[in-house]
Amino acid sequence: MYKSVNTRVQRRGATLWTIATLLAIGLTSPVSAQTTAWGKLGRTATPAEIKAWDIDVRPDFAGLPAGSGAVSKGQDVWESRCESCHGTFGESNEVFTPIIGGTTAEDIKTGHVAALRNDSQPQRSTMMKVSQLSVLWDYINRAMPWNQPKSLSTDEVYAVVAYILNMAGVVPNDFVLSDKNIAATQGRLPNRNGTTLAHGMWDVAAKPDVQGSNCMTNCATSVTISSRLPDYARNAHGDIATQNRLIGSVRGADTLRPAAKTFVSPAERKPATAGPAAAAGAKPDPVKLANQHACMACHGVANKVVGPALQDVHKKYSGQPAADVARQLAARIKAGGTGTWGNIPMPPQGHVPDADIQAIAEWIANGKF
């Protein structure tokens, strides 16, 4: 919304404009659109129409409707309308990126979230990133709850924003957020000073920050490969053979099998696609399953994400028989839980078929990643 004081100016402007237009139409030279043949297409928007659609709230809070909401009421809204997707504490570990987490009282003082400078947080929460309070209000008002956007009342939006700020330690339990104090509250946002416009990707005339080299010959003495796809991820994106054309100068690699040791000439090559029969008989591929069921959104094989690295899980139980470990892990995966690796809970995975859980559990227990 352009500053509300302008609505009046605009409306008056509209009248003046119409007069100006009428005058202009009589003239021949101005290359203004109003004098073109199609300038009459469309019509003036009514104030009610503008009000219905012009819902944006700017960083200076222009466009923010009057209202208020208490933290306590926000908790009710949160628990009934938001928690199912974003978690009890806004940690969102069930499905989505966390809203709360990673900010400190010190950040509130400095306006810079320190965790953005180091690797102390596995994910960047909304609270760590958000620099303008207006956007929390604007976005929740326009787009949340995700499956029922624009169903919250103005006061409910104030309340739930207050509750989010409260969960992040920005405002006290008895706080009431309103159009009167929102600008002052902006002054407590942990990452309010966390953005910069010092870059070349906004202003069309600005200069790029990283320039490549023009060198054509003898540009490097040695070439080192610093990163490649690990073998266990070979089929994490499915069978690449079925993602490439079957004619031309190349085929897709059969990633259901390990890479060939040597070059295989075309006449000797096996069909590019494994037949459906072969696929049906094959053992389920745990890597694929773990990806398909979004386990890998929270677990890395070698690195901790939200949950522990699968290699570490394997190590922890490697003293016991693999079959027992697999059985126990399967039960834990199904039930979810907390406390074994820290205090972040793993959501129950009851929606994943038992056979798939078993295959993944065996894979972890065997440790052949």
């Binding site: 906004w202 031309g248 006449a267």
Partner: protein, 459 residues
């Protein structure tokens, strides 16, 4: 003589694959293994037949169609197929045409584990199979934040308000009655190649670069519509674009872009926009990241400050090593990628290859693309195919002979402003590894001795 053509002198050399670079042999033996070549004629015929049967289906016919034919000729020629001896399908059997069933491998695909719900996700375009510069409408990449809709165009309205003398509403009829322009432009998500900032994460060009498409758009320049509403171009340095879907996606656009080439488009590749791409109306912001090309466009507001929308405050902000987020990063800088041979592909034989790829820049035209096959030690300029257009994909090609050894293929584009595509190392030095967005680094593909191409990073 074109590089792929047979020259008598090379016959011998062909047997050991040591032929002159750029020469490919037409002799059928060239395509056989040494084992097959030492067989007698009859044995060879039965060997081939067996190989054909074993291979079966499309892949089997491939091996033969490459020229590995029995003495009397290729069965694909000698045995007239059904389509030569029968009656084909009538017109309009498929009133809206579809690609051949043999092309079904080329589809938009999700990257497993990247996002957690399909309605706030992305599907990647299969760049590995594209030709030229135009993306087929059905294979245009998708990015939705709150699902897609097929909106009734008769009920769709477009409003302009804010710093204008006369805020107006237009129907689709109004917009489509106006004079129109048609322009070809690329659209690239700001997060394209974002998974690769820290290390290699995905196998193929579909997943490394597939949040990229290029189409011809038809619509009305936004500037004309702002003129029509009497916009205040003195104070109004920015516009807010807003969608009509549940997310009501908002993004701030610089007025400089609007005055240059932003358009309100209803058509793509000669037909109306596809629902997944914003039917019936979307913003086209040439050179700027895809999130700004607001779909289901319902409103433009002219204002005097940027709007700090969700996707320019919480997302689409680039985290720098000092902990600051670059905000309003919008321009997609000069970039290129070899689409074939590329990651996850296997070269079908040694010998001649046409290395092909695409280059683009949000700052202008592509001036030059250099290709290296030795990991960046030496570079050669590729041929640029026409048309070479502003903020549009440019196709490049260059001849190459694979002699069976390791090779690292790379491409490096330069745009009309002189901006040269940087290496991953150069980019990381300035921007670290956590910025997610705007990775325009040089892509490297390792061709191994087994013929398989894989995604690698150098340095």
């Amino acid at each position: 003589m074109p590089p792929w053509q047979h020259s008598k002198k090379d016959d011998k050399a062909a047997m050991t694959f040591n032929h002159r670079p750029g020469r490919l042999q037409k002799a059928p033996e060239f395509f056989l293994t040494r084992e097959a070549m030492t067989l007698s004629r009859d044995d060879r015929r039965s060997f081939l037949r067996k190989a054909f049967l074993a291979a079966g289906g499309a892949a089997g016919t491939l091996a033969l169609s490459k020229g590995a034919v029995a003495a009397d000729g290729d069965p694909a020629i000698l045995n007239l197929p059904a389509h030569t001896k029968g009656l084909g399908q009538p017109v309009a059997a498929r009133p809206y045409g579809l690609p051949s069933k043999h092309e079904e491998n080329l589809q938009r695909r999700e990257s497993p584990g990247l996002t957690r719900v399909g309605a706030a996700s992305v599907s990647f375009a299969p760049l590995q199979g594209f030709f030229g510069i135009i993306t087929p409408s059905g294979l245009h990449f998708e990015r939705h934040h709150q699902g897609w809709w097929d909106i009734d165009p008769a009920q769709h309205r477009f409003m302009i308000n804010g710093l204008v003398k006369n805020p107006k509403v237009y129907t689709m009829d109004d917009l489509m009655r106006m004079p129109s322009i048609s322009r070809m432009h690329f659209i690239e998500c700001g997060a394209n190649t974002g998974m690769e900032w820290g290390n290699v994460a995905v196998p193929t060009v579909q997943y490394t670069h597939g949040m990229l498409s290029c189409c011809e758009f038809t619509g009305v320049p936004l500037k004309w519509l702002l003129d029509d509403c009497g916009a205040d171009f003195k104070k109004g340095k920015f516009v807010l674009a807003e969608g009509a879907d549940g997310s009501s996606m908002t993004r701030t656009i610089n007025m400089a872009n609007v005055l240059d080439d932003v358009m309100v488009a209803y058509a793509m590749n000669g037909e109306m926009l596809r629902p997944e791409n914003g039917y019936p109306l979307r913003l086209v912001v040439p050179g700027v990241q895809g999130v700004s090309w607001v779909k289901y466009l319902r409103r433009i507001e002219v204002g005097d400050m940027p709007y700090a929308a969700k996707d320019e405050t919480i997302h689409y902000v680039d985290l720098m090593p000092d902990g600051q987020h670059r905000q309003y990063t919008s321009i997609q800088e000069v970039k290129s990628v070899i689409t074939s041979p590329s990651g996850g592909q296997v070269l079908i034989d040694k010998g001649f290859f046409n290395i092909t790829g695409i280059a683009w820049s949000g700052r202008g035209k592509i001036q030059k693309v250099d290709v290296s096959v030795d990991g960046g030690k030496n570079w050669k300029s590729a041929r640029l195919e026409t048309p070479i257009l502003d903020k549009c994909l440019t196709r490049f090609n260059i001849d190459w002979t694979w002699n069976g050894g390791d090779a690292i293929l790379m491409s490096r584009a330069t745009d009309s402003t002189g901006h040269v595509q940087p290496t991953m190392t150069a980019l990381r030095k300035v921007r670290g590894t956590k910025s997610i967005y705007h990775n325009n680094s040089i892509q490297s593909w390792l061709v191994s001795a087994n013929g398989e191409v894989s995604n690698v990073q150098i340095g």
